[in-house]
Amino acid sequence: MASANPSREQILERIRAGLRVPAAELEDRRFEGQIFEPVQNPLERFQQECKANLMECHLAAGAQETSAKLAQLLRDLPGGEIYVQDEPALRRMMDAVADGRAVRWSTEGAPRETSQATVTLADALIAQTGSVFVSASCGGRGASVVAPCHIVVARVSQLVPDLETALRNATAEQRLEKNSFACIISGSSRTADIEKILVQGAHGPIRLVVLLDLES
């Protein structure tokens, strides 16, 4: 395989030559307003947007209630292995709720295709778009896309008002230096490629569930 870049310099030279003639100035300076209405109540907005995104958002008061809700969610799933981000808080929670179900931890490798669900944490939640911000540190890349159900355990303190705040934080925390992957997930996998009819569960999860602990 050619590792050399024979055309690199030529392309750069053509770009530089092309840019010698500057583009005309933008004339109209009228548009300096606000692009989005500021988010007033992040929790309320997050819940609204989750609903619009066809996600499930369950509120819980404290760790105990979060565990109880997770246990209920897992009980309602079909039998089979679940894949869980290997993290101390999730280890403690799973010890209490696994109920004999096979668990594959993210430190054991990628999720298997037969996984019934994945349980991960998130880096942040975004109110403006009802999104979950995950990165490779949340159990890897496949954790949020391979299984038919993705359960995200999060705390209300992780909620940020908008995309801009989320991306500024990610830049400041060098999240893409520390992780090879990040994703802002706004709902379950879907397609409208057939007659623009919405179908959930195209290639990824049919369900995206957020368990939101309000006491954090």
């Binding site: 395989m1 050619a2 870049n5 055309s7 392309i11 053509r14 770009i15 530089r16 030559a17 092309g18 840019l19 003639v21 500057p22 583009a23 005309a24 933008l26 009228r30 548009f31 307003g33 606000q34 692009i35 989005f36 209405e37 947007e49 490798g109 990628a110 999104s131 490779a136 540190s137 159990g139 890897g140 890349r141 496949g142 896309v145 995309l163 801009e164 991306l167 500024r168 990610a170 830049t171 893409l176 520390k178 090879s180 990040a182 994703c183 706004s186 709902g187 379950s188 996998s189 879907r190 397609t191 409208a192 490629d193 057939i194 007659e195 623009k196 569960g201 195209a202 290639h203 990824g204």
Partner: protein, 475 residues
């Protein structure tokens, strides 16, 4: 007229008379229009959003060398590889050699218009490599051995019955009631096997981010996620114009792209890939390659007047609103990029054989009015017409027509006599039943349509009368 131009006219005439096609496109576009309007209402100020996106892309394109080098440095620091390809052959050659040297037998592709532009799949298939398109729409058109019909919804031209028939013939399973849910489930099952078998995933990029050395990929289905998570090699193929300066720019670009593309507030999976799997990560490819493609773009960059065409974020909004696209459909263009953006871009990328597309427009300006990065598309069609005519020269008959037109325009009485003769002459001709015949100067219109009703008086006479009435009303 080039053979491509003749083909275009033939296909346009056939497609615009295809009633099944018209009905499918009407339904699709009505659904898009409603979603797009709803999506725009979520912005406090849509015009400011467009302006912001225009400024971001303008900054990037006018400092393209700087941002590409910054991107490259970051990708290499993440452990990735960057290959600069001057043209399709170099890009395809790099990816083919990479696949062959790594023993790749199966490739999964997520949707990427630039890989259509460079015709990558046939090059890999020649090596005996199985290439799976994994976006549902792309999968459908791949099974039909067709190019994408639309840059965002590749199979927009098909209804569920046609897709059911296709799946029955090609996949051997009959979805009895052509239920979209079941059709999607069938495709999911087939493609899951491919995802888990593939050694290489190939994606495009909606944006490449200079300050992060990351590739941003927007998908709803999750196929882009699986293609970049499961195989051991990930190759991202992208045009050099996709670069943006900062990660935070996506706070505007992502919602604007999603709104213009499908009416969504944001695409379901807004994914950022910054290199191969790092030590300690649970999964992900061991190798990450970015192929940066010029393929004529730097030539367009040198044209300061049309440089902004490189701002395009490939949302498809100009296709959806275009009255020409809505009637002739995507395949008639016979180009990778269809609709107004394709008509502007293709003559620059593929030469003067596609110059006829500069005329595939009513110049209504709807495309420019919806473009989320404010590209003045219909003006660029005019620029292309002007440049092409200046370079290729004009026909003697055309020059004579314009000379006569000019004389008439600067002599109002002569113009009036011409109008009078035309009204009288056409009335006589139509009275004799010769509308649409070889003698009819309006034949291009009246050959297949009822002739336009002829006015009794000239426009100027009507205008004068109207003005007199307005004046009388004031009194």
């Amino acid at each position: 007229m080039s053979s491509a131009a003749q083909q275009f006219l033939r296909d346009a005439a056939a497609k615009s008379a295809d009633l099944v096609h018209r009905e499918i496109i009407r339904k699709n576009m009505e659904s898009y229009d409603a979603a797009h309007l709803r999506g725009r209402s979520r912005f406090k100020d849509w015009e400011t959003a467009r302006r912001r996106c225009q400024e971001i892309k303008r900054e990037a394109i006018n400092h393209l060398d700087h941002y590409l080098l910054q991107f490259e440095e970051k990708v290499i620091a993440h452990g990735g590889h960057v290959f600069w390809a001057a043209n399709s052959a170099e890009a395809c050659g790099y990816i083919r050699d990479l696949a062959v040297s790594r023993g790749v037998r199966t490739v999964v592709k997520s949707k990427s218009m630039v890989t259509e532009e460079i015709h990558l799949a046939p090059v890999l298939e020649e090596q005996g490599i199985k290439v799976w398109e994994t976006d549902l729409g792309e999968f459908i058109v791949q099974l039909r051995n067709e190019p994408p019909y639309h840059i965002v919804t590749p199979a927009m031209h098909l209804n569920r019955q046609q897709i059911r028939d296709l799946f029955r013939d090609k996949l051997g399973e009959d979805v009895a009631d052509a239920d979209p849910q079941k059709l999607v489930a069938l495709a999911r099952r087939k493609l899951r096997e491919a995802f888990f078998a593939a050694e290489m995933g190939i994606s495009g990029a909606n944006f490449i981010i200079a300050d992060s050395g990351a590739v941003a990929i927007s998908t709803n289905e999750g196929n882009g996620r699986l293609s970049t998570s499961l195989p051991r090699i990930h190759v991202a193929v992208t045009g050099i114009e996709k670069v943006i300066p900062r990660l935070v720019d996506l706070a505007t670009l992502w919602p604007v792209l999603a709104t213009s593309g499908t009416g969504q507030p944001i695409t379901t999976y807004s994914t950022l890939i910054a290199g191969p799997r790092k030590p300690g990560e649970a999964d992900g490819p061991e190798e990450f390659h970015v192929v940066l493609i010029d393929n004529g773009r730097s030539g367009l960059l040198a044209n300061a007047e049309e440089r902004e065409v490189l701002h395009c974020i490939r949302c498809g909004a100009c296709l959806n609103i275009c009255p020409v696209y809505r009637n002739i459909g995507g395949h008639t263009y016979n180009t990778t990029y269809q609709g107004p953006i394709g008509s502007v871009l293709t003559p620059h990328l593929r030469g003067s054989d596609f110059q006829h597309l500069s005329y595939a427009s009513s110049l209504c300006g709807a495309c420019s009015s919806v473009c989320p990065v404010n590209i003045n598309l219909h003006h660029h069609l005019l620029h292309n017409r002007r440049d092409f005519t200046a370079a290729a020269g004009s026909k003697a008959s055309g020059r004579l027509q314009f000379r006569l037109w000019r004389i008439a325009m600067v002599h109002p009485r002569l113009y009036a006599v011409g109008g009078w003769l035309m009204r009288r002459g056409l009335r006589l001709l139509y009275g004799l039943g010769l509308a649409g015949s070889a003698l009819d100067p309006m034949r291009a219109w009246s050959r297949k349509r009822a002739p336009v009703p002829l006015p009794r008086r000239s426009f100027r006479a009507q205008w004068k009368k109207g003005m007199a009435l307005t004046g009388a009303a004031k009194e």
